[in-house]
């Protein structure tokens, strides 16, 4: 079994790529770098310009945002199959958080231009990206209204 095949399978297990043709996923995997990070190494830093998206092949990583006091706060932990940094790449916005390896971490690094090319070229992927974005927006809106209600209750 070649590593490339594993990577293709991994990509297919990610919802956004589920409907993309296998040969396209193979191309994406072929063009990507497989990288290993040591525990504690940063994959990317908050506020940096995005250059790539990452899929975790093995190991785990922490998502960390900097607090107003200049400290750090861990907001999530990601494991195998997690797709990270995708929104920053697709929307070309600075990284919203720092991602740091919390164990030995193996990732597939998908370069921005390859990701963009794939999205433009593959209608199934374009739809999937759109759905993901809408879902996140819906979730954020829901979170926001809940937070507003909570705030209203507090002040009341």
């Amino acid at each position: 079994m070649s590593k490339l095949k594993d990577e293709v399978d991994l990509l297919r297990s990610i919802p956004m790529f589920a409907k993309v043709e296998p040969s396209k996923l193979k191309l994406l995997a072929f063009a990507s770098d497989r990288l290993t990070y040591k525990e504690g190494q940063n994959v990317f830093l908050q506020d940096d310009a995005p250059d790539a998206a990452y899929v975790i092949i093995d190991g785990s990583a922490d998502v960390i945002v900097s607090t107003e006091q200049g400290g750090e706060s861990k907001v999530a932990e990601l494991g195998r199959n997690a797709f990270l940094g995708d929104m920053a790449v697709l929307c070309d916005i600075p990284r919203t958080a720092t991602v740091r390896a919390s164990s030995t971490l193996e990732v597939l690094k998908i370069k921005k231009e390859h990701m963009m090319e794939m999205v433009i070229d593959t209608p199934a992927l374009t739809m999937a990206v759109l759905q993901t974005l809408v879902n996140r927006l819906a979730k954020t809106t829901k979170d926001l209204s809940e937070a507003q209600q909570a705030l209203a209750k507090q002040s009341a």
Partner: protein, 923 residues
């Protein structure tokens, strides 16, 4: 002896008439050639006369009727004029009496020696004329370039570089040949014509008049017909020059051609120009040959008249037949010199027109006074006092106003920011101060003297200027940086033996052509002006300056990419091999150990390509490049013997299938193609038919080309990178076997095509970094490259090699116009070069606008600190036209320009409160 032309002479415009210009410089030589030609005449006529004597006397026996008769050889006698002596002749030498056979030998040998003498005369005259022409050509080219160096700057906005080059190089070329003959030929041919003509006149007045008549028709008609020919010649020259200008533009603007798909427009434009040139040249030929036809016709018309008219007179008895025959014989001599004269005249007119065309371009108004560029050997005193600008108005060539009525005073060592948007006059102010624009009105004084009149020895050494675009000619980075210090030879080169003879000849020739005699091989580097103690010390101030402009790391990286020749730098290469060993030792057990896989003669290197593993060396040229390996006979033999060909063939099929599966649908410019490391995109479509064929035939039945195309692919395969699982552990041994076999039997003719890896040898084809590593950085680790490079750098620092590595970096060839450097690097180099001069006032016109804003801010701060002398160094003046006005807060004073006017001046704080424009700009 100082035979360099005086400034007054250099300032005179070039003479508009070529012959005058030539006569001015070659008078003595021209007269000498004429003299030599005259001196050669007697032997020439003797040689013509002698064959007749040989045939008549010894051969046919005239005067040898009797067997014992003798003839006198070498008798010298002259007939004196009758008023001096009544003797028939004065015998100077009685001669020898000789019999018939010895006489034949004597005459024949005389003939031989005359032929030799004639030949030598001709040889001498031709060489002399050739040299004369070449010297004049050299002088002319030098004069033209001298003028280019003194053109007013605005002239360069009008003329194209390639047109000037074409004028200096190609258009003056035909002059050389003509100059040698410019005066000699007419004198010589004219003389011949006059003699022949006088002879005809003496024979018969009327026939003489007839000759005059036809020649006059020739002389009137031919120039008339030629008028158009000359005009065409002028057009030909202009169109050809424009063509080279256009070609130059295409080359310089080639990127615009590609990104705009205008290549066909350019083709059509070139085609139209070539067409124009063709029609001009074709008409030229037609007319030229027509003139020739008329000329020949007239020349033949005269004998016709001689026969008719002369014959008529002869029949009537007024002219005797002997005279007629003599006249016709003499006339036969006449066409050659006359035609020669006509050809010469034609050439003269043609070249005169060409010359006038060139001179017109080079005799520009406002040519800089040569004295301003005079060589100054004494040290130039530092600038002091104040720069006073009053009522300054600057207009460009189209008379639009760039600066209107500017007034300000600054001390030479003030630290001043100039702000204002593009076109506000801020940039023009900097250019005017640097002498790149002429003030239209008003005054610009430095320490009381007008800045425009200062010699370049002062402005070029004590002032420094850098704009945002600097042209960097192709040379090493070191020489690029040192360029600004090469004002005069600092230390003459010592010559000995044959070199000295050659050098003396070079000087003598330079004098003869009025060229510069300064030795380009002397050491021109003014190390003292940079603050160095000797020539060998210059890298120290260079390193400092490069740190200031943040270029030191880039130079280090360049050094890592350079190749070194162990024969030229044996010591350094040896030290680098030591570094290699120490690095390898330290690697073991360190936290970067897994980032590097060293080359080991007995092991397969996973991180390197199959080709590299097979060759175990670096290909020096194309012979053993991966795409040519499969076709190489020796490599084929090795593959065959080891059975590696079967493995590679099968891998090749899989790789081809993968490439087709992944890439067949993509357009060739798709970014994914960059990742296809084992096949060039344009070959992709060749593979489906190859696969179809070999699937049937297998390896043994496959065609030679198909085999090659498939075996070629896996040579670039790297398992950890491509991750296709094609190369398994058990394959490594086969490749290692092939490696050993390749190395052991390497034929001599291939030994120069490869530099093999060896633990104790420096590889002259691989980069410095590859030599230190003698291995590959592993794929698949984040930051592996950075960490390994960092470790190398630390080791080099620790071993005290940073200085030598730095020098290696400085030997990097920057490419034409510095194109091998990035745009930011070019700006940094230009700035570094400016700072290296240690001028009293440094003017920066935007300068580093392609750097990112953080780097710009750091460099501005660093330079302001340096200029104020806060680091304990010598303070200097700084006038910086800033791209980003907010950096102005670092400066002592600010000048604010807006729409050509100097609207506000003062300190940053004052202007923030009181200045409207400044406050707007900074906010």
């Amino acid at each position: 002896m100082n035979s360099e032309p005086s400034f007054a002479e250099q300032n005179k415009p070039l003479d508009k008439r070529l012959l005058r210009y030539v006569w001015q410089h070659t008078r003595r030589d021209q007269i000498w050639v004429i003299f030599v030609i005259l001196a050669s005449m007697p032997t020439y006529f003797f040689a013509l006369d002698l064959p007749k004597q040989i045939i008549n006397q010894p051969i046919q026996g005239v005067g040898f009727e009797d067997a014992t008769a003798t003839a006198t050889f070498m008798r010298l006698a002259i007939t004196p004029p009758s008023f001096l002596s009544s003797a028939d002749e004065w015998v100077l030498f009685g001669g020898f009496d000789m019999e018939r056979l010895p006489f034949l030998m004597a005459l024949s040998l005389t003939f031989l020696s005359l032929v030799c003498i004639n030949g030598l005369f001709k040889f001498y005259i031709n060489t002399y004329k050739g040299r004369l022409g070449e010297r004049m050509l050299r002088r002319m080219r030098y004069d033209l370039v001298d003028r280019v160096l003194r053109f007013p700057i605005y002239q360069f906005r009008r003329v194209k570089a390639s047109e000037i080059a074409s004028m200096v190089k190609d258009e003056v070329e035909p002059f050389g040949e003509f100059i040698g003959d410019a005066f000699v030929l007419p004198v010589f041919l004219g003389g011949q014509a006059i003699i022949a003509f006088t002879f005809i006149m003496l024979q018969s007045f009327w026939l003489g008049m007839m000759t005059i008549a036809t020649i006059s028709v020739q002389m009137v008609l031919i120039p008339y017909l030629r008028k158009r020919v000359l005009e065409l010649g002028r057009q030909r020259q202009l169109t050809a020059r424009q063509l080279s200008g256009r070609i130059g533009e295409i080359v310089e603007g080639i990127t615009a051609v590609h990104v705009n798909d205008t290549s066909n427009y350019e083709r059509s434009e070139i085609s139209s120009r070539l067409g124009k040139i063709f029609f001009i040249r074709f008409e030229l030929y037609q007319r030229k040959f027509f003139v020739k036809f008329i000329n020949n016709f007239l020349a033949q018309l005269t004998p016709f008249l001689f026969y008719v008219v002369g014959g008529y007179f002869a029949i009537r008895g007024t002219l005797d037949i002997g005279q007629l025959v003599a006249v016709i014989a003499a006339y036969k001599e006449l066409p050659t010199p006359i035609n020669g004269l006509i050809v010469w005249d034609q050439k003269r007119l043609d070249i005169n027109i060409k010359y006038a065309q060139i001179v017109e371009q080079f005799n520009v108004n406002d040519l800089q006074d040569a004295e301003q560029q005079a060589l100054t050997k004494e040290p130039v005193a530092p600038l002091k006092g104040e720069v006073v600008v009053s009522n300054l108005v600057v207009e460009d060539e189209t008379a639009s106003v760039l600066i209107e009525d500017a007034d300000f005073i600054m001390k030479v060592n003030d630290v001043v920011a100039v702000v204002g948007p593009l076109g506000s006059g801020a940039g023009a102010m900097a250019e005017t101060l640097a002498g790149l624009r002429e003030p239209t009105q008003g005054r610009m004084l430095i320490n009381g003297s007008a800045m425009n009149d200062l010699p370049e020895a002062i402005t070029g050494r004590r002032l420094a200027y850098v704009g945002s675009e600097s042209y960097l000619p192709q040379q090493t980075l070191l020489n690029t940086l040192l360029y600004a210090s090469k004002h005069q030879p600092i230390e003459e080169k010592e010559y000995e033996g044959t070199e000295l003879t050659t050098r003396n000849r070079e000087i003598a020739e330079a004098i003869s052509s009025g060229n510069s005699q300064l030795d380009i091989n002397a050491n021109w580097i003014d190390f003292e002006s940079m603050g160095a103690t000797s020539f060998d010390d210059v890298h120290r101030p260079i390193m400092e300056v490069l740190k200031t402009v943040e270029l030191d790391n880039a130079v280090y990286e360049l050094a890592m990419r350079q190749t070194l020749d162990p024969e030229l730098q044996p010591e350094l290469c040896e030290k680098l091999i030591d570094v290699r060993h120490i690095f390898r030792e330290r690697l073991e057990g360190s936290d970067i150990e897994q980032f590097v896989e060293p080359f080991d003669a007995g092991a397969y290197n996973q991180q390197a390509t199959i080709a590299e593993n097979l060759l175990f060396g670096t290909a020096a040229d194309e012979t053993l490049a991966p795409e040519n390996l499969a076709g190489n006979e020796y490599v084929q033999q090795i593959l065959n013997e080891t059975g590696l060909d079967r493995l590679l063939f099968e891998m090749g099929i899989e790789l081809a299938e993968t490439a087709i599966e992944l890439f067949a649908d993509l357009s060739p410019d798709n970014p994914f193609f960059e990742q296809l490391n084992f096949m060039s995109p344009e070959l992709l479509e060749d593979y489906p038919p190859i696969l179809a064929r070999v699937r049937q035939s297998g390896l043994d039945g496959a065609g030679e080309l198909d085999r090659k195309m498939l075996i070629m692919l896996p040579f670039s395969y790297v398992e950890p990178r491509n991750r296709l699982g094609l190369l398994k552990e058990e394959h490594h041994d086969i490749i290692l076997k092939a490696r050993n076999s390749f190395r052991e039997n390497l034929p001599d003719e291939l030994s120069s095509a490869i530099s093999l890896y060896a633990a104790d040898e420096y590889n002259d084809v691989a980069s410095v970094q590859d030599n230190i590593l003698l291995g590959r950085i592993a794929h698949g680790f984040s930051d592996a490259t950075e960490k390994v490079q960092q470790a190398i750098k630390e080791l080099l620092d620790e071993l005290g090699l940073n200085e030598e590595i730095f020098k290696v970096g400085l030997s990097f060839d920057i490419g034409t116009a510095g194109k091998r450097l990035s745009e930011t690097q070019r700006q940094k180099v230009a700035l570094a070069r400016t700072l290296l001069k240690r001028a009293d006032l440094v003017i920066i016109n935007r300068g580093i606008n392609t750097l990112d804003s953080r780097a710009q801010e750091r460099i501005v701060k660093r330079l302001v600190t340096l200029a104020s002398g806060k680091d304990g160094n010598e303070p200097f003046g700084l006038l910086w036209v800033l791209m980003t006005p907010s950096y102005a807060r670092e400066f002592d004073r600010v000048l604010v320009f807006d729409r050509g006017r100097l609207v506000e001046k003062g300190s940053h704080e004052d202007l923030l409160q009181s200045g409207r424009t400044y406050a707007e700009l900074v906010s």
